[in-house]
Symmetry: C2
Subunit: 312 residues, 2 copies
């Protein structure tokens, strides 16, 4: 991993967890999961990643090893007495819906992210879906982020609205799905919803649409990226987080810095496509399994395939 | 309309009807509708159209005039004693679902399409959604169609399967929506569904995905077209038919003839984009109202806008 330019490194904050998942393709009782895990693994193909998260003393050596093998900096992975966050869910037959069967926050309930000194100068920050005030606290610890943004969810939008709005004001970009965009803006139409959200602070909004891809809104324009048409979806868990990882990872690789001068929209468009690509790979196997053997060449080949499938 | 090359003319077969429609934007008790109406109006911007349909003696002069003003040949518009087909429906708040409140087939119940002699040499044929045996009967009346295909629906797929399969064998292309593709193929995954359907006869399949656009499957490849992101959807009635009209209209304008030599996939891709464009215009007003003033320049500008919104 020494070939990376350390200046481009990315801090990822969020959950590292164990998941139990059932899909029409099978059931796994317990496997590595969590937003920071998926984001970090996906981003690691593009840029050096530093994770901030908390796990319990049950966190397995082999899971640490997987993250380390991808060159992920684990100094910010705090280990405390107790159990790691556990989530269990079951997907519907068409995998467009899922039911949460169990959520044991465990050590994650007291997560108070503290950035190691070495992390604070990193130019890129991706805040996974955690309480908005904690997200703000992380950004305040960064010295000079070129590009900072993140994800949120219906729970924070509904019950922590004021906190969330205060947090969003300082973000360069927000990544949410279409139903969250509607809830946050109060607008049903996506184009109107996006216009409202861009007034809340972030200069860039990415609306994820599941299998239908994503739309980037910025500078009064939008860019529509398709979802890659998979022949088999084994497990959609983490696909949205992998989208985020591919997106911010590529922007970091390209050294995109909207505060430091000109912005090439081509980089942002391609970042959305790489997000779509990473989300699609995630679905090809249970949990993080697809990333054990995935190569950058496969990623770039799928990027090219999406270009071939959409140009006219 | 004399500037058109008559050799490229398109025969459109289907319903010409009156619709009552309620959407969150308002309610119209009775307005011009029907698949052949929407297909014909959308296609008329690209190629000369000849309609085959039946109406009752209540069919209004102003509606004949609208079709005629677009240069549509109405020799095949049979007028018989009785009432014109009437459909009434109400859309859900997000307009993704609709409830049929009333279907009075009236004179359409005995529709037995007979092509005027002048129509039989037309090179292009679009069969709107009618009984599969009637669709076959129309194709049999054509002398040498370069390109023939059409639409169907869940009712024929479920209850007239054998007839439908016999009909599809002779089509060059099939245009259906995603749920119909799943039902026809028995496959939930769209890529697998498309592979199955292409074994049934048509060399080209277009799967419409509503607001998410459409996918063209042919020659072992696929092309994904986005849906145009509208700021206001007034009435989605007829959008799928307008997609079909833009699609076949553009292929006719380009003189595409898969039986006569080489096929340029670029024409097919652009035909799907023009389909998406025409479907989007249709939603901008109630019924066919958007087509009263729509110009080809506006159509081409939206085509260009879709190119700008998707290239990377």
């Amino acid at each position: 991993m020494s070939c990376y330019n350390q200046a481009m490194s990315l801090v990822v904050v969020g959950s590292v967890a164990y998941d139990g998942v059932e899909t029409p393709h099978g059931k796994v009782e317990r496997m590595l999961g969590g937003a920071a895990t998926y984001i970090g693994l996906a981003a690691s193909y593009f840029t050096p990643v530093k994770i901030v998260a908390v796990v319990g003393d049950d966190f397995a050596r082999e899971d640490v090893d997987l993250l380390a093998a991808k060159g992920i900096d684990l100094e910010g992975l705090e280990r405390v007495p107790g159990k790691t966050f556990f989530w269990e869910g079951k997907y519907s037959a068409d995998m467009n819906d899922r039911e949460t069967l169990r959520t044991d926050l465990n050590v994650f309930a007291d997560f108070d992210p503290k950035l190691p000194e070495r992390y604070r100068a990193a130019p890129y920050l991706l805040l996974g879906n955690i309480q908005p005030a904690l997200q703000s606290g992380v950004l305040a610890q960064m010295r000079d982020a070129h590009l900072a943004g993140g994800d949120t969810m219906n729970y924070w939008i509904r019950d922590y609205r004021a906190e969330l709005l205060a947090t969003l004001r300082d973000w360069d970009f927000l990544l949410i799905n279409d139903s969250e965009a509607r809830m946050l803006s109060g607008e049903r139409n996506l184009r109107r919803a996006a216009a409202r959200i861009l007034e809340m602070g972030p200069r860039t909004l990415v609306v994820k649409r599941g299998e239908y891809g994503a739309i980037l809104f910025a500078n009064g324009c939008h860019f529509m990226a398709p979802g890659y048409l998979l022949e088999d979806v084994f497990d959609p868990t983490g696909a949205g987080d992998c989208f985020a990882g591919g997106f911010i990872g590529y922007l970091a690789e390209r050294g995109v810095n909207p505060h430091g001068g000109s912005v090439d929209m081509k980089d942002w468009r391609r970042a959305v496509i790489y997000g779509s690509v990473m989300g699609s790979f995630c679905c090809e196997n249970f949990g993080v399994d697809r990333f054990r053997a995935l190569t950058r060449d496969e990623i770039d080949a799928r990027f090219q395939e999406l270009q071939n499938c959409t140009s006219f």
